[in-house]
């Protein structure tokens, strides 16, 4: 049996209490929400917190999606502990942020989506073929720098870790221009999704260790459209080996603004401004779509540390960006 190691389990009932518990821990500590990322990692000893702080009893984290006005802008807000099933199945999310519903729906499997939360998927540990293995497997290669070792087996001469951000919802949040609300020892702060991720397989989240992602705010932009396409081996279970999130704002059938974000090709969701530039000011004709696909192809640099061949995955960037843009164009016809 793959068993969890021993740990102290704490169940705070408020955010303040949770942060205090995290701050006062003397050894390694982790927050847990759905457990579908942390517990497999703990079973394989990727993560070995002596203390696990459950966020499950903090009621305000479970606030269902709602439409609110903040500073004269309209948002859909979602509590970080809302399950992926409840995000993808929520009517408000489906109507106002269909790309997010689609991305949440594409995560793993139905039962895992019943357990896993939107906050957990946004904070998903980065993944790598040399890391997501049993303790014995990793010991046989003398471990890697992400856990217990010194070397990155994907790029042995590299000083950094190249584990991959494999979240489906993170690229969409960045494309939609969402904000994340964090609670930490300094109180509440609001971080744009685009600034929440680092290009580093180890320090992949740009937040303090005790900061808790509490709420997601997705702006509602009139006249905009977005989508998410996911490449993987199977139609279920698998993490993305490529995710393409595209957001477009239209003005009289001309692309007024756009964001194109690639998932699973780097340690962070990769924003491709040059691909967006290729379509802004156009009516999304075939030529501009091809230019955007070509622009996204160049900086898409998947590493050989997930499923499927990396040359093919890179090629598919072009195909998926093209498909996503055609889908958005068809929505306006």
């Amino acid at each position: 049996m793959l068993r969890l190691p021993e740990f102290e389990f704490l169940e705070p009932s408020s955010l303040e209490e949770a942060v205090k518990m995290h701050e006062s821990a003397t050894e390694e500590v982790a927050y847990v929400a759905g457990g579908t990322d942390l517990f497999p990692n703990m079973k394989r000893r990727h993560q070995e917190p002596q203390t696990v702080i459950s966020l499950g009893a903090i009621e305000e984290l479970s606030t269902a999606p709602e439409e609110v006005e903040i500073d004269r802008r309209r948002f859909v807000t979602i509590g970080a502990n809302v399950s992926l099933t409840d995000v993808s199945g929520n009517q408000l999310v489906q109507t106002l942020c269909p790309a997010l519903a689609k991305a949440a729906e594409s995560v793993s499997t139905p039962a895992l989506k019943n357990m896993g939360t939107i906050g957990g998927n946004l904070c998903l540990d980065t993944r790598c073929n040399y890391y997501n293995q049993s303790f014995e497997w990793r010991r046989s290669i003398d471990f890697c720098m992400k856990k217990d070792g010194d070397i990155c087996w994907v790029a042995p001469n590299s000083p950094r870790c190249w584990a991959v951000n494999s979240s489906d919802t993170a690229p969409v949040m960045i494309a939609l221009g969402a904000d994340f609300v964090l609670m930490g020892r300094g109180g509440e702060q609001i971080v744009p999704a685009a600034e929440f991720y680092n290009d580093d397989g180890i320090a992949y989240l740009n937040k303090g260790p005790s900061d808790i992602l509490t709420q997601i705010r997705v702006p509602i932009t009139p006249g905009s459209g977005a989508t998410y396409l996911k490449l993987r081996r199977r139609g279920s279970f698998d993490f993305p080996v490529l995710g393409v999130a595209v957001w477009i704002r239209w003005n009289n059938k001309i692309v007024d603004d756009a964001r194109i974000v690639l998932g699973a090709v780097a340690s962070y969701p990769r924003i491709i401004p040059e691909a967006a530039t290729a379509i802004i000011g156009t009516d999304l004709d075939d030529d501009s779509i091809e230019a955007a696909a070509a622009a996204a192809f160049r900086p898409s640099k998947p590493m050989d540390n997930t499923d499927l061949g990396l040359a093919w995955r890179k090629q598919m960037t072009k195909v998926y960006v093209r498909r996503a843009l055609h889908e958005l164009r068809a929505q306006t016809d």
Binding site: L4, P40, L112, F237
Partner: protein
């Protein structure tokens, strides 16, 4: 670490157990409550063999802490026969929707949750609902057919397995 006393409501029955504090629900069910109908497969959430229902919703018991499942309704395959086999169990048996049977409890419970929500699911509804359960023996066709057969019977229809489902194409 000292053991922890928990009370779990499994198949409508209050059960007390002294468990390892870090034990998963799967371990508690199998090892402390001796309910071995729930199977352990990958133990990482990648197969669905350990699926149980918590408050009617399918969850992966190898990734849930036993202690965190108190005050919830837990349903395992042992609770399905009451005492007669559930319509799904009968249909699975009639149609040969199990070969080695290891994945079957997970399939049965996931299908039960689906039928609770949708009495007349389409083939795609069934495929979507069962997309997190792996079977490495039968393929999935017989499983889909068994869920459809059980659904029809649960709606009160006098449904029988088709000749093709049992004997293949003639």
């Amino acid at each position: 670490m000292a053991k922890l006393r928990v009370t779990l409501r499994v198949n409508g029955e209050e059960r007390e157990a002294l468990i390892e504090p870090q034990a998963t629900l799967l371990e508690v069910l199998r090892e402390d409550l001796e309910l071995t109908g729930t199977k352990h497969g990958c133990e990482l959430g990648e197969c669905g063999a350990c699926t149980v229902l918590i408050d009617g919703t399918p969850v992966i018991s190898c990734l849930a802490l036993g202690r965190a499942c108190q005050e919830k309704d837990i349903r395992t395959v042992e609770g399905m026969a009451d005492p007669e086999p559930h319509a799904l169990q009968t249909a699975f048996a009639e149609l040969g929707a199990a070969q080695c049977g290891y994945c079957t409890p997970g399939f049965l419970l996931t299908a039960e949750a689906l039928l609770e929500e949708k009495s007349e699911p389409t083939r795609d509804d069934i495929k979507d609902a069962l997309a997190g359960n792996l079977c490495r023996c039968t393929g999935y066709i017989k499983i889909y057919e068994a869920v459809e057969l059980a659904a029809a019977r649960m709606r009160g229809e006098n449904a029988q397995p088709t000749q093709e489902a049992i004997y293949g194409q003639q």
